[in-house]
Symmetry: C2
Subunit: 458 residues, 2 copies
């Protein structure tokens, strides 16, 4: 097997050709070319189309062989039966990588055609993503050989057997201001598998968290080995459907592979330190919080409970968070009499000095600051959950100051935000906080579940 | 007890005074006045402020007694100790309703002051919302005596012991194009309780669903009686925190009332046909689907399983939906050989003719139409879940046609949409679908849980 270094031609190619580039804006062969161009890829881009002289302002070539000079990455969008010839041409052009979008291979029973394509690729040393996939987006190279077009740079790398799940995560990350490092749609995994990609991204300086949607793994033992190493460098989160018997059958039908037991898979994940998501929202939320965390998953070995102090402007939201915490085994410790007394001295009398600490609806952002500083001087909370339930001006500034303050005092405590409601200001503040590395969630339950991921509960 | 008809002065007042209206844009007394004006309330609006001659272009009065003519609704934002006098003035002006935003009553131990206020109100026949609340929004009257300003008219009426939860639901409903009929923040419930409001909204032609966030109910027996009647007319959904022992203590501390047992409450809800939400997202999602449903909660009595046919462009999303369905007891029945055969005749060969029916990533909106028409000609599905996993043009048109088609054939089957990903087009399509009465969700799990609410599983 070639070293994973050779994936460089896929993620950091010096040039890209799109074979099957189309002039019709509704065709995938047009959309991908457009996304590569609009995404700002800086190397040469070659549309290949025997019937066009120019597409999207770029000179088009009749075949790969007509391109002057080398082609590093070949993106293939032609019908399946034409793919072997394209791969041979790619070999002659000394390509290092191919992304085969085209379907019509193993997923509909054409195993021989798929084998032929991979044999050609191997003979030329070309690494292949797909076939039957939604492509690759790697923002550090401004390379969106996929759809939708996502350009917001971040540190989340998504590897997915569902193009849609990958696209959804990318869209959410872009909308929320956290961006992505990569989105890779695996397709049939005829050559490059999730294991190769986990290994690659674990060493990739642009990746801060690896987020997986997987319906099954080919080599479970190697998957676990690679994950065990990867989590030493950065968190790995996985959503694996097929928990139910019918879900498992549907997964096997989708990927034409053996899904294996969900329970065994989940147990193995826990053992090697991989975080298990239960829903698509979990996958996104857990990735987000672990990416920003100071101590991702380091708490799994410890015996003491994970303790959270909740500060809220909304009494109801605090209660909802407490319910959720108890259900997942997070402790919301009561305040000592002494701590409550000191808080009473610095807060207005109508605040309820318990945990959750109810700063009430008239709170300023600064009241959170006063309270966290007071609490953190004695309290041993592992995380502070700050719930904002109204448009509270300057919340992002205060939260950012608090984060730096805790860090400067050598505290490992995490700051997590729930901004529920708050209208347009709330949305803008969530964006600002996340751009400063503070994870922010839109409901108390999602915030607390994410804290559960921090605490190693999933 | 006065008849609930007298709540008309609160929801459909002929005139409104804001006592404590402020010229300072950061003060609640300014924000509420501004929201009443910007919301488009058509009757006279009187700012009351002894130190101002004009606020927001409206003539201000020194006291309620200076207002020429009657005042129907009085919104009160002055300090607690001044409220009894304001109420006496409101009585002299023959007001029918008062919304007391001001805090400083029972919630901080000032029980006597609260009793005094209510005694005055009763002596004049004034119904009171609050005190210590976030006000009332009733869109049919263009009356937003609350915050944030939400003007999108819809059929969801929210009754909440948390102003923040109410505001969040309102904001989501506005952003998603479904709007609200009402948002009422209960506060201390010194006079008007959730029970009065459930009764009122159950008879309100503008309300299609009643959505409750409740930390405790004063009179459990009457609550259940009123709910039993209300659900004959429209669905009722409740989120009640305090499931855990610490959550229950926090709830009692927040509302200064006995929360009671969650298990007993939930059992009673199930018995009278009230739907129980577990999270804030549930509360919103369940309200949305039940509001649009043809047969809300009518299925609780039946013995047969609730059956869903899933059609998807995204194989992965279909599998995720199946897992979620099995966990909540929804059946995803396999296709008969005959049905599969007929589908194969009308669909391209690469579609996977099972349930979930995988129309694959290259699907058009029209392929969903073909498939649902074929399936519904024989299949006995209670609901069709249509999952769109890419920007698919014309999806909202097709879904709307399908809905009408099913209705014209006398079918009770529901159409539910999950639009995951799809970028800007996806968001616009979700808006369009919901404006046509088709509930649309952004993840497969949320769509399937909502179907669970339809099926009486919660």
């Amino acid at each position: 097997m070639p070293s994973t270094n050779s994936l460089n031609s896929i993620f950091e190619p010096s040039s890209v050709a799109v074979v099957g580039a189309s002039t019709n804006p509704e065709k995938t062969g047009h959309i991908i070319l457009k996304n590569i161009v609009d995404g700002g890829f800086e190397g040469p881009v070659y549309p290949i189309n025997p019937g066009a002289s120019e597409i999207l302002g770029l000179k088009a070539y009749k075949s790969l062989l007509d391109v002057p000079g080398d082609v590093d990455l070949v993106v293939i969008v032609v019908p399946a039966k034409a793919v072997p010839d394209v791969m041979r041409q790619a070999g002659k052009k000394r390509a290092g990588g191919a992304i085969i979008i085209s379907g019509g291979f193993r997923e509909i029973g054409n195993d021989a055609l798929e084998r032929e394509v991979i044999d050609i690729a191997k003979s030329f040393g070309i690494r292949v993503i797909g076939p039957n996939c939604q492509g690759v987006n790697y923002t550090a190279s401004n390379l969106c050989a996929s759809w939708p077009l996502i350009t917001a740079k971040g540190r989340m790398s998504v590897i997915s057997q569902s193009g849609t799940v990958a696209a959804a995560l990318g869209e959410w990350a872009e909308a929320e201001g956290i961006g992505i490092s990569a989105c890779v749609s695996l397709g049939n995994k005829a050559d490059v598998s999730e294991v190769d990609l986990i290994e690659y991204f674990s060493k990739d300086p642009n990746t801060g968290v690896i987020s997986l949607y997987l319906e099954g793994t080919g080599d479970g033992r190697r998957f676990m080995e690679v994950c065990r190493n990867a989590v030493q460098r950065k968190p790995v989160v996985v959503l694996r459907p097929g928990r139910s018997s019918k879900g498992r059958k549907a997964a096997e039908s989708h990927t034409k592979s053996i899904a294996g037991s969900y329970v065994i898979f989940q147990g193995a994940c826990r053992q090697v330190g991989v975080t298990s998501a239960r829903t698509v929202e979990d996958l996104y939320d857990f990735s987000k919080i672990l990416m920003y965390a100071k101590t991702p998953r380091l708490v799994t070995d410890r015996k003491e409970p994970y303790k959270v102090a909740i500060l809220t402007s909304s009494g109801g939201s605090g209660i909802i968070a407490v319910d959720c915490a108890e259900e997942i085994g997070i402790e919301i410790p009561g305040l000592s009499e002494e701590a409550a007394g000191r808080l009473k001295e610095v807060l207005p009398p109508h605040c309820i000095t318990r945990n959750p600490l109810d700063l009430t609806g008239d709170t300023s952002a600064e009241r959170y600051e006063t309270a966290v500083r007071e609490l953190s001087s004695s309290n041993q909370a592992d995380a502070y959950l700050l719930i904002f339930g109204d448009p509270i001006p300057r919340a992002s500034e205060v939260v950012s100051r608090l984060k730096k303050d805790l860090e400067s005092r050598g505290s490992d405590a995490e700051i997590v935000v729930c901004y529920i409601g708050g209208g347009t200001l709330g949305q803008e503040e969530v964006l600002r906080m996340q751009q400063q590395g503070i994870p922010a969630f839109r409901t108390p339950e999602r915030a607390m579940r994410a804290i559960g991921a921090l605490a190693g509960k999933f």
